[in-house]
Each structure stands twice: as C-alpha cells, then as structure tokens.
C-alpha cells in the first residue's frame, strides 16, 4: 500500500493531483468522465469581483506541442459563484480551491473576503499571473513590490490556505516567490502560462484577437520544471508545480524537482479522464520503484 497523502502546509491532500484553473471549468464539466472525489483537489475557473466577458474570439491557437489562449478571465463574478455554483459543487469529497483574480488590489481583497466565508473552500489560489488581461493579473506578479502589495492585502482578510500563482514572465521568479512568502503566502503554484504569439503566414494576421496570449502544454514543461526546482530550493513554503504535465512521469519529475503537489492543465482538454489515469500511473510508479510514501519523492532529485 502506497501512501499518497500529503500535508500541503495544512491543506490535506489525498494525493498530489490537482487540476489547473481555467482548464477544468467548475469540475462538473468532467463528471461524465471521472469521479471528482478521487482528486487531491480541483481549482475552479479564475474568479473576479465583477462579471467579465473576456476577450473577443479568436482566443485559441494551437502551436507545436502546445496551445496559446487569450480567454481573459471570462467568468460570472464572485457573487454568482457563491450563490449558484458553490452549492452545486461544495459536497464533493475533495479540496475545492478558487482561483481569485482582479484588476486592482481592492478587487482581490473583496473577492477573497467573500470566498473566505464559504465553508467547503479550504484555500484560494491568488492569480497574480494572468497574461491575458489589460489591467491587473500578470502586472501584479512581475514585480516584487506589487506582488507583495496584493498578497499582504489579501492575507489580512483571508484566513485559510493562501496559495499564490506565479508568473514565469519575469527575469527572476525566485525573488517573487520569496516576496510572497514574506507576506504570508502558505504556498506558491508555478508556472502560469508563458506570454507568446502566433501569426497566420497566409493572411499576415495574428491568430489571437489580442495578438499575444498564454502558452501552455508540453512545450513549456522543461522551463516550468526548472523554475519549480529553483523556487523549491529557495523558499520554505511548499510548491505546487504545473506546466505541460501530460503523464505520470511528468508528475514524478515535478515532485523530484521539489513540488509537493501538481496541477494538470491543458492535458484535460485532450483526455478529460487524464487526471485519474495519471493518478493510477503514479501508484504504479511507486509500486514498481518501491516508493512507500509519495512524500519521499519531494525534492529527491539525485544531482
């Protein structure tokens, strides 16, 4: 019997598999394909204080081993989430996290305050790294001062586990991670998407309405892995790793690099039951290599 339980700085995970915000809807989109209760957790769509229509179509372009998106945080706002969506999902026996985003610090704070009141939401993921909104989002996550400002303000009102999602579009992700740790973040998740673009050579037009968008998928995995390794060595709070995970070996790699848990993102679009296949793959790996406790893999890179 392999122990897959992880104490993620107070957040009790039955296994290291979570799903990435924006790739998993509100969970229920996947209930035809998997038993959501088997997940370590799922992170629902980026939620803002007010309703957002997001960016115009086209919002997606497939690229080599990846995809660009420019959805732009389309969501119905935190009130609709609390009143209509939360009651539908709150009884799943797994950790449900809400990804919280905003344009100004006050919006993050108001949204986090409202989520704080929801009994069955044990944590939020503070999104200071969305590359697809004009104001806020990634702007907060690309300098230590602004990252500190928003984390400090949210920390005052949010009493449960505060995970902060970091942007890879920075010169030094380690310094940002240290800044948010200093302001009281309970964990960090990394990486969000990489800013990229795609052009249609025939029409000479950009493939996204916003010209640039966020790159995800296996194309970004080696960079994400490197960043997780650098950050995990530098901070004392646990790291949730993500970026191009497609299979169980990818998860093991992220854990060896120092992640205590992971998020599956773009892979959900291709295989809606991939999370459970990966979970079974991890159990298989542990049996095959004699790993009795998944925690033994965290940061166990032999270098």
């Amino acid at each position: 019997m392999v122990n897959l339980n992880i104490d993620f700085n107070g957040l009790k995970l039955k296994n290291p598999i979570l799903t990435a915000s924006g790739t998993f809807g509100y969970g229920t989109e996947f209930s035809d394909f998997i038993d959501l209760n088997r997940l370590g957790g799922f992170i629902v769509k980026g939620t803002t204080l007010h309703h957002r229509e997001g960016n115009p179509y086209p919002r997606m372009a497939e690229t080599a081993s990846g995809m660009l998106n420019a959805v732009g945080l389309q969501n119905k706002g935190v009130e609709v989430f609390c009143k209509s969506i939360y009651p539908e999902i709150k009884d799943y026996n797994t950790n449900i996290l809400v990804n919280v985003s905003g344009s100004v610090v006050e919006d993050y704070v108001s949204t986090a305050e409202m989520i704080n009141e929801l009994e069955n939401i044990p944590a939020i993921e503070l999104n200071i790294s969305c590359p697809n909104v004009k104001e806020g989002g990634m702007a907060f996550g690309t300098s230590c001062a602004s990252a500190e400002e928003v984390v400090k303000a949210v920390r005052k009102v949010y009493k449960k586990h505060l995970m902060v999602k970091l942007s890879p579009n920075v010169t030094d992700i380690v310094s940002i991670a240290k800044s948010v740790e200093l302001q009281g973040a309970d964990s960090v998740s990394l990486v969000n998407t990489f800013l990229g673009m795609a052009i249609d050579a025939k029409t000479r037009k950009p493939k996204l309405s916003t010209v640039t968008g966020g790159l995800s998928g296996p194309a970004i995995k080696p960079i994400a892995l490197r960043m997780v390794w650098q950050v995990a060595k530098a901070v004392n709070i646990p790291v949730c790793g993500l970026g191009g995970i497609m299979n169980a070996d990818d998860v093991i790699e992220f854990m060896l690099a120092g992640a205590s848990c992971v998020q599956i993102g773009t892979a959900n679009f291709i295989e809606p039951d991939i999370t459970i296949k990966i979970l079974e793959g991890i159990e298989h790996y542990c049996r095959k290599f004699g790993v009795k406790d998944i925690n033994d893999l965290i940061g166990a890179l032999d270098s």
């Binding site: 790739t23 809807g25 997001g54 086209p58 997606m60 679009f269 291709i270 809606p272």
Partner: protein
Amino acid sequence: MKKYIHYFEVIYNTQLNTDYYLLKLFTEEDLPAIFPAQFVEVRIDGAPNTFLRRPISIHDVNYEKNTITLLIRIAGEGTAILSSIKSGEYLNLIYPLGNSFTMPDSDRILLIGGGCGVAPMLYAAKYFMQFGITPTFLLGYRNKESILRPEKFAKYGNVFYTTEDGSFGEKGNVLNHSLLNNEEISFEKIYACGPEPMLKALSDLAISRKIECEVSLENLMACGIGACLCCVQNTDQGHKCVCTEGPVFNVKNLIW
C-alpha cells in the same frame, strides 16, 4: 446529456475527391442517442505538431450496426493524418457533443450546406424523416467534381445544387439560388452550416424575410466540453461556448 469517451474501429476510409474522405466507424459500446448537428472530438494520434482533438460533425448514424460516419475535409495536419487512417485501426472519440437543431413544425424546411457544411445535413434529414418530415436540400460547392455523396442525399429529400463555376446546378453560391429568390416559395425554417460569410448573408436574408433560421457554427475549439472557453461566439446574451451552448444558434441571437 451524458458524454462518452469510446474507441471506434475504422470500418472503411474512402477518398471521395481530392479534399474529402468518408470515415465509417464502429463501436462495441451501445451508441447513445445522437441529435442532428452534434459532433465528436477525435483524438489525433501520431501527429508531430498537433495535439488537440479535432471537432468533426456527425454525418450519419446507424443504430442497428452501431456505426457513425464522419465526412472529413483535409484542412491541416490533424485532418491529413485522419485521412490516412486504415480500416481495422482505432480512433478515440469524445461524443456526442453540443446541442442540436430544434424540431420544425412542418416539413417546409430547407437544409443548406456549403462545402464541408453539408456534413451535418445528411443526418439532420435522416433524423427529421423519422417524424414524417421530408426536407429540401440546397447544397453549394465549388464545381461539379467537388459534389459529395449526391445519391445518398437524394434518398432523404429533394436536392438542389449551386456550383461557383456553374458546372452543376445553378451558378453562384447558395444565396443566389432561385429557391431563396422566389417569392412564391416559402420555408418555415432554414437550417444551415458552412463558411461564415455564407451564414452571415443567409442570416440577413432570413431575418429580413422573417424566416426562422438556425446555423451550426464551427469556431476553433480546444476541449469540446465547455471547460476552456476558447470557442466562444458573441450573442445577445454575451459570450456562449459553441461546444456546449452551440454549435446551433438561432440567427436572431447572434452578434457577428
């Protein structure tokens, strides 16, 4: 409506002309109820540069033989790989996806397809026929050589054609056809699928003549199940997912 992930065996893969292939697929699982204009997301295995599934509309269904048929147009690398699949090989499908054309009140209905947009119209006609409705088809192609499965369409209704070069049927596109330009012929409802400029022009015509009109859209999508929010269409109720709240929209709700 419950969605499934099933493996399908390729019964045959027939080239229809330079750009189009007909794929007949069999599953050992029971087929769920499938409605007109619904689609599948096909996983493309072994493609070096693509990794997302490809949304393909359901062209035909046979519940007795547990088969579905897809009409594939080679549009890029993903569909090129699909076109080379051999009988006996397997494809992984998520289905049935999307909403569907709504039932008409009479058989004064016109099914319009342009190019690859003819694909859902065959099954739509077959489906409506169960309710005693015999539709009229208006199908638009580039030329005579590009006409797809004429005998098959003729089994389910009266078929009228346009070709851009006039080599078969009336010359021009479907909007120019006399069926749509004769005050004495009236349709209760039009169902259409095809290139966006055709659908927009048709929408204008339907609205000005007060004819109900539903179109099936083909926006780029990633997941097909309402999670990624990439395939949105602007409507009078804001952005709607083409994969789950479409692909069928009444033109009066579209903002395009």
